[in-house]
Amino acid sequence: MVAPEKQVKQLDRVIIRFAGDSGDGMQLTGDRFTQETAVFGNDLVTLPNFPAEIRAPQGTLPGVSSFQVHFADHDILTAGDAPDVLVAMNPAALRANLGDLTPGATIIVDTHDFTARNLTKAGYQANPLEDESLADFVVHTVDLTGMTVEAVKEFGLSRKDASRAKNMFALGLLSWMYGRPTETTVDFVSKRFAKVPAIRDANITAFKSGWYFGETTEAFAVRYEIKPATMPSGTYRNITGNLALSYGLIAGGVQAGLPVFLGSYPITPASDILHELSKHKGFGVTTFQAEDEIAGVGAAIGASFAGQLGVTTTSGPGVSLKSEAIGLAIMTELPLVVVDVQRGGPSTGLPTKTEQADLLQAMFGRNGEAPLPIVAPRSPGDCFDAAVEAVRIAITYRTPVMLLSDGYLANGSEPWRIPSLDELPAIDPAFATETNHGEGDDAEFWPYLRDEATLARPWAIPGTPGLEHRLGGLEKGDGHGNISYDPANHDFMVRTRQAKVDRVADSLPPLEVDDPSGEAKVLVLGWGSTYGPIGAGVRRVRKAGYHVAQAHLRHLNPFPKDLGEVLKRYDKVLVPEMNLGQLSLLLRAEYLVDVVGYNEVRGLPLKATQLAHVIADLVGQAEDTTVELGIWGQPSQKEDV
């Protein structure tokens, strides 16, 4: 496509939000814009946001689906607090998203759906395009639908089908505005609709028409340039958390030389892991869609007993159902990876929204003293490494491991530097093949004799002659593993299971603390998907000229060995979480440190601006000064964050 002769403005970063009806294809539009942006070489972070209903009533506020993408010429950490550009495909999309905009933001509106009926459905008394209510914004009113229908009429589609391509028109327009490469989208559409040429051609035509419209219309006088970001060398791809996590599980299986067995029941927002793994049977992956959550974990435990890598994937409500079986895996000391893609709770809660409120469930949500290691990824791409780590711990220590992702990580995406496989840890299943107790004719296999270093028990799989043994949920006698009701043995075994989980800490690196000046008095400590917002908040405070340290936990149980010492180095420790203070509670209990919580459970990621203010307050208290953030306290400062 020919470069336009229009004014070009340089920007360092832009936040765009595509919003429309849940049937308008906003997720696809956002995803395509993201791919174009990734290929262009910007750093980026995305935030899809959609209703749990597949098709909520058309034109209503609950039916609004949106996709936010933040891209920049430098490395960024969040999907951004306030969109610079809102693309609103109908009145409801405008109304639902307007509150997130700051004055000066650009709004591109498809006027086609601004009918009296649709305005009423969205709760508007008057047409906002015709009064002064949008005076603070730069508003472009465009009949996207009408122009799309006109552009694709040669393909003989029904009006309804023709108007469906309006999202591609919008994508074309935005792609022109921000100088995105178009080949990936044309290729994508060609492949996706290869079997329906009329739809394929209509979509490509709508996409190109959107671009040409931007180029020719006088309504858009400026286009923007955001240069590629400087990133560490390597080959990159854009990746969502669920995809990275799926690849991590496959990689864990490959590293261990074991077939992966996934037992799972569909649940939002974890189902995409089941979908993805079911495509990769070529890696020896078996996927079993079970009759319920319990059967999913049960089959995974069975597969682990049989010598495969048992995995089960779910969200919080599913973990509740699996709890008893996870206890069985703790008692039988079998490897098992339990993936909890957390969502808003309790009960059914907010299925498509994010939250971090399953930490204590992961930690304590079983009967008896039932400890297990907990691992959490910090970003979409990090889901890969976290999954490999969960596999490593599960196999090395013969234990279920809880991998706590969340809805934001699952569906959000970022550029991911593709790792070389030799960066991954070696994982040795070390199956038992020999008897391990007694000599000669008295030689026996004792399934609960432990490795001295790890306290792991031997994993002897069926088919191994001479090592026949019985596992079960009843308390085991130390060593021989037969049923034991002996009080001293039970006390010993409870402590031993705990000690085994604690031993995982021996294999962990020291906690990385980011404290560039070494003068910080405040440490911000987080876990999971709050990494991005915390990092962005910390950067804002530092830009404003203050000292603050940041650390982020991959391992929630056991904690890194030096965590207590790190906490005590700082006057104040801030723990932001998308729950009511679950990590705070664990830290207080473990280290007797008076951590300060910052807690939100809004179903959305924390906002960097808000965190910057919270951190600033604490820095002010610690340093006994007044902290002024200046522009770094504004959601939409046009500077580097």
Binding site: A251, G263, A303, G473
Partner: protein, 369 residues
């Protein structure tokens, strides 16, 4: 939506239930299958007889002992695996079929057995039982039915007769009971049988047929609980009454019972089911000939309805249904084999690593200096 015909997967044609399990040339005895654990059921419990029968039957299979796995849930009968010197797991309440499904799918070379009871299989684990049956995972489920909860000390179970007075139902139980055979047939189980703890010969013959069946075999075993439900099966056990109480199902044989075969089963045109008649009153040609291999489960279901739901006076005993259907685990392994491009499913690890590197590098990528 599209469907993919399973026939195109190239699943190996029908084989016996144990064909892919390594056999042994070593002579085996029941003692080889007896673990060193002390058996701890109540004196007189029917479980002893079943254990003894299973221990002496297992050598007949001729399989390597290390390739046999017994999985159980919770309940008196679920202690079973501890007493067998094979691989085993005493798991959690109701979930044994799920664990067995994982094992059977993961490993073709294992003979997988589930030991369960009427509470374990039909109450807390009812869902898993019917789904195992419909999937037809290659495993044999031994359902010990004593029509009572034993381990929790005597509450009514989902197979207890309505009105049963127990600790939890002092005014009589209200629940209508399940008929396990009807339930299994309704779930389209491919092998459904019933036998009796005290009839070693019949029990063993049913176990042999169940093990040979490729798919989920459900064997209901009437088992007496001498403590909480003693005498529940007296009618079919007592020498005086059993001829009239047991309706024997023998493949290819007319179904007659009673002293001197005085009673017979015929189709009941009024109900579409089957009914009991005096043999003398009907033409020999009208007497139902038992055909467990009939692909339609209708007649087998009708026969299963002749089981008393209240106090047990009559009950059909034998193999109700025995038909061939592709097993879930064979099909699942074949999908993996097709996808790996290796019928054995064992591609080499180096190749796998190379393909993993290619997989994660897929999609739209870009390189930074």
């Amino acid at each position: 939506m599209t469907t993919q015909p399973l026939t195109e997967l190239g699943i190996p044609s029908f084989r016996s239930g144990t064909e892919s399990v390594p056999a042994t040339d070593e002579p085996q005895t029941g003692k080889d299958f007896t673990s060193d654990q002390e058996v701890r059921w109540c004196p007189g419990c029917g479980d002893y007889a079943v254990l003894k029968a299973v221990q002496s039957f297992l050598p007949d299979l001729g399989l390597r002992r290390e390739n046999i796995v017994f999985i159980s849930g919770i309940g008196c009968s679920s202690r079973f695996p501890y007493y067998l010197d094979t691989y085993g797991m005493h798991s959690i309440h109701g979930r044994a079929p799920t664990i067995a499904t994982g094992i059977a799918t993961a490993r073709e070379d294992l003979s997988v057995w589930v030991v369960t009871g009427d509470g374990d299989a039909l109450s807390i684990g009812g869902n898993h039982l019917i789904h195992a049956l419909r999937r037809n995972v290659n495993m044999t489920i031994l359902l010990f039915n004593n029509r009572i909860y034993g381990l929790t000390k005597g509450q009514y179970s989902p197979t207890s007769e309505t009105g049963k007075v127990t600790k939890s139902t002092p005014m009589g139980s209200l629940d209508h009971p399940f008929n396990p055979v009807s339930l299994a047939l309704g779930a389209e189980g491919t092998f459904v049988a019933r036998t009796i703890d005290s009839d070693r010969k019949h029990l063993t013959s049913v176990l042999a047929a169940a093990a040979a069946h490729r798919g989920t075999s459900l064997v209901e075993i009437y088992q007496n609980c001498p403590i909480f439900n003693d005498g529940a099966f007296d009618a079919i056990k007592s020498p005086e009454t059993k001829a009239d109480a047991i309706i024997p199902l023998v493949q290819g044989e007319p179904i007659t019972f009673g002293v001197d075969g005085a009673k017979a089963l015929v189709h009941d045109e009024a109900t579409g089911g089957v009914k009991v008649v005096e043999t003398a009153d009907v033409d020999a040609a009208d007497i139902l000939v038992h055909d467990a291999h009939n692909p339609e489960p209708t007649t087998a279901f009708a026969i299963s309805r002749l089981t008393d739901s209240g106090y047990l006076n009559t009950s059909p005993i034998g193999i109700f249904r025995q038909v061939e259907r592709t097993t879930y685990d064979d099909a699942a392994r074949q999908q993996v084999a097709v996808a790996t491009g290796d019928a054995s499913g064992n591609d080499d690890t180096a190749d796998r690593a190379a393909r993993l590197a290619a997989l994660i590098s897929g999609g739209d990528t870009w390189t930074v200096g």
